[in-house]
Symmetry: C2
Subunit: 175 residues, 2 copies
Amino acid sequence: MLIAELGWSQVTTRAIAERAGLPHGTVSYHFRGKQELLTKAALYTIEHLFPMSELEAITTLEDLLPLIRSWLGNRDATGSVGAGVLMEAIHESKWNPVLRQHLAAILREYRRVVAEVVRTEQSRDTLASNLAPEAVATLIAAAGDGLLLHVLLDSELNVTLATETLFALWRRRSS
Amino acid sequence: MLIAELGWSQVTTRAIAERAGLPHGTVSYHFRGKQELLTKAALYTIEHLFPMSELEAITTLEDLLPLIRSWLGNRDATGSVGAGVLMEAIHESKWNPVLRQHLAAILREYRRVVAEVVRTEQSRDTLASNLAPEAVATLIAAAGDGLLLHVLLDSELNVTLATETLFALWRRRSS
């Protein structure tokens, strides 16, 4: 995807039309300029990187572990492009409030679903009831994105073991 | 700082000379172009954002909590500029291997020091001995940077509670 290859600021609607094999006029007719096109393309990619449907299907924190592992460990072309688009979008969002609000809303949705799982575990007494569900969800989301950030800087980093350690803390507490 | 204000790609050596009140020739004489100047300036800022001397002074994981809190909660001009420079540097590092290697080395140093504290806690039997010290350190560093990333996208996020929750997991386990 051009956003990840060239960086957001270097992509032009002309380059997008060329890559898609479309006349430039067709692309510029459908979107009000480059920012709208890239914002929509980036949000579409990010929402498909970590599909809400997969997240909504989980019922225990343990089920979250393979999802985060594939989020971090996806080192094929799709995974790298996805992470690249995400990083470009986060960077761009400083100057693009529409994009920033959308990214914040996606993150809130993820946290809401994870907080629900935390509440379910607490009602089953498999997780301490004095942990704030929203705080646990915030922590898991942040650890996931922070590990992604750090493995992009240092490909040697053992992110799998770090993720397992986070979940081991809960597991041991409930045993 | 211009990197945070304008974004890395928009800064010129001419703008830096103007801001510093120096002739352009003086700035371009001392650095081999914009990339070298910005790389050095960004690394200097980042190393002072989270000083190694403060990190090396801690002896328990508990002591790390106020450091991370000030890392995340520093909402004055300096804090925002620092976070802005860090985000610009991480983004730029995709295309700048020298910068990426330096950032990776800084992170490795932070993790090494935190892993030492984990080992000390384990030797005192205040932390479970079957947790890998490097994995705990990786997790703490990732959670810190992930929370910073998420609070930049959503200023309403309660990062303090999330940080406390991470540390509460260890605290309760050792009691």
